[in-house]
Amino acid sequence: MDAVLFWTFALIAVACAVNLIWQRHPIASAISLIGVMGSLAVLYLLLGAEFIAAVQVIIYAGAIMVLFVFVIMLLNAGREERTPGSRLARYLGLPLLATLVIQMGYLVARPTRLSERVELGSFATSTKQIGRELFGRYLLPFEVTSILILAAIVGAVALARRQDPAEGAGEPGEKESA
């Protein structure tokens, strides 16, 4: 049962990822990406990581992708035109792909020691355990990440508010809020 579900959703994830690149319409690509996120969430569920699965859906599929779709709709982006592709991609693409396939093949075919394999239940999955790890052992990385995100938000706001001096005085009431 587990294996059936794993292969089903792994195949859906890969198919959606291929479709994401294949499609020429940005909305169709965005929806394929949502499909990838959704099937990843199911794979997390299969590993027993319910919290991660829920967070994956809430944050990636439910918030970030909604913003993507929102921006695509707001700009009313149409179909992309196929370009012949850059010379770099033409000459380096196939060799790089081959390297990647060989690397992955090696990793899969290599005899694994049992200790390296991820087993169901061998790692923290419950919400309580994740909370303890996050705010105990990994507190510093966690806080550093949040400061990084805060800096990104402030930077985005600063970029959005920057006025072109040629355009004039800007909106009324800007001074007191700036």
């Binding site: 909305i27 949502i34 829920a54 809430i58 599929a61 439910g62 909604v66 779709v69 929102f70």
Partner: protein, 396 residues
């Protein structure tokens, strides 16, 4: 095998009840709003217009199903299915009552008890926006597109406040299983005050409850936050181009979402199926009394009504209410149905509150909506979550 059979039966019963409620909550809404505006509301089809929902369904089923030219056909068809299936999905984790015994099988009155119940509901709700957004975009109509954009922006903004409102209740209960959250709210402090999360120390969640309730109005696109379908500006917003059953699906999704948020509010803040007063105060007779009161009221009105259809149906209603109330006098029925009664009463009141607000408040302007969401509701939710965390850490 009994497990599978039981699960199927429970899913079937729950689905039937949910669809029946969806059908009739529209009748209730039209009646209540009509009464608030001193009108009659639907009263031609059947006694008191009770068959109006069926007539509406028939009408919608037989209407022509249009797909506008230049619409994105696949997404146009997908969107209403997405909206309604996601809306119906989240009811699966709501616990309605304690364990009961059916044909020798003990089973909780809940489809499935996830370890992450509230997160599951938040995840499903956060996906629900795609139904509206994609439907509006795929219609290839400027009004639909504006409705879609508004709904995407609005739902992202208010989802945060909704989650922050939920966080306080979760902190107090110390669990992510909805059943355990309800169990944590059993009992009374000072002998009479129920230990519901809105009253429970060390930090009563009334502020969190208000934040949740307000954000829930926006999440379900209900007035006064129904900007995605503001008919004075956008014709009908995201569902302008939809007709027939596909329009009905958006309609159903809205009401199903309303029911879900009302049930979740009952579970998280109002103590689920636990009664509001201790048994020593005679609260176990409240359902019987309520039945008797409804029966008396209906009988009184039937005596004033003109003879004919209306009088006959009111008397039948009075008899049914009296019988239902009398059934609660028998301890066997009481044990099973009292929790359901209290759950239905609390969720029903919240649903009535939704309708009441719709009939009372005018619609927000779009910039007011965004300012309110980000500058009032979000900080309030954040402050409440921080205060709850602090109090639970100090005194919990």
């Amino acid at each position: 095998m009994p497990f599978l059979l039981l699960a199927l039966v429970k899913a079937g019963v729950l689905m039937a009840l949910l669809l029946l409620t969806l059908l009739y909550i529209q009748w209730v809404e039209r009646k209540v709003i009509a009464r608030i505006q001193r009108r009659w509301g639907p009263h031609r089809v059947g006694p008191h217009g009770l068959l109006q929902p069926l007539a509406d369904t028939l009408k919608l089923l037989t209407k022509e199903d249009l797909v506008p030219p230049h619409a994105h056909k696949f997404l146009f068809l997908l969107a209403p299915f997405l909206a309604v299936s996601l809306a119906l999905l989240s009811i699966a984790v709501i616990p309605f009552g304690e364990e009961i015994e059916v044909f020798g099988q003990r089973t909780p009155l809940q489809l499935t008890d996830l370890n992450i119940g509230p997160l599951f509901i938040l995840a499903v709700t956060s996906l629900g926006v795609y139904g509206i957004t994609l439907g509006g975009w795929a219609s290839n109509n400027k009004y639909s597109l504006f409705g879609a954009l508004r709904s995407a922006a609005q739902m992202i903004s208010y989802e945060l406040s909704l989650s922050l409102g939920v966080v306080g209740a979760l902190l107090l209960s110390g669990s992510l299983s909805l059943r355990e959250i309800v169990d944590a709210q059993a009992g009374f402090s000072f002998g009479f005050l129920p230990r519901w999360n809105v009253f429970q120390g060390p930090w009563p969640q009334w502020a969190g409850f208000l934040v949740y309730l307000t954000a829930a109005f926006a999440e379900t696109n209900r007035a006064p936050f129904d900007l995605p379908e503001a008919e004075t500006e956008l014709v009908a917003g995201f569902h302008t181009e939809y007709s027939s059953m596909k329009f009905a699906m958006f309609f159903m999704a809205e009401y199903a979402n309303m029911i879900t948020v009302a049930c979740l509010a009952t579970v998280l803040f109002l103590g689920g199926w636990h009664p509001p007063l201790p048994e020593s105060w005679g609260v176990q007779f409240a359902p019987a009394l309520a039945g008797a009161a409804v029966a008396a009221l209906l009988w009184y009105h039937s005596s004033g009504a003109a003879p004919g259809k209306q009088r006959w149906s009111m008397q039948a209603g009075a008899a049914a209410a009296a019988l239902g109330g009398a059934a609660f006098l028998w301890p066997g029925t009481r044990a099973v149905f009292s929790p359901l009664f209290w759950f239905a009463a609390k969720s029903g009141f919240l649903l009535f509150f939704y309708i009441w607000v719709r009939a009372t408040l005018p619609r927000f302007r779009y910039d007011q909506l965004m300012n309110f969401g980000w500058k009032v509701l979000f900080p309030a939710g954040m402050a409440n979550a921080l205060a709850t965390g602090l109090m639970v850490a100090l005194f919990g």
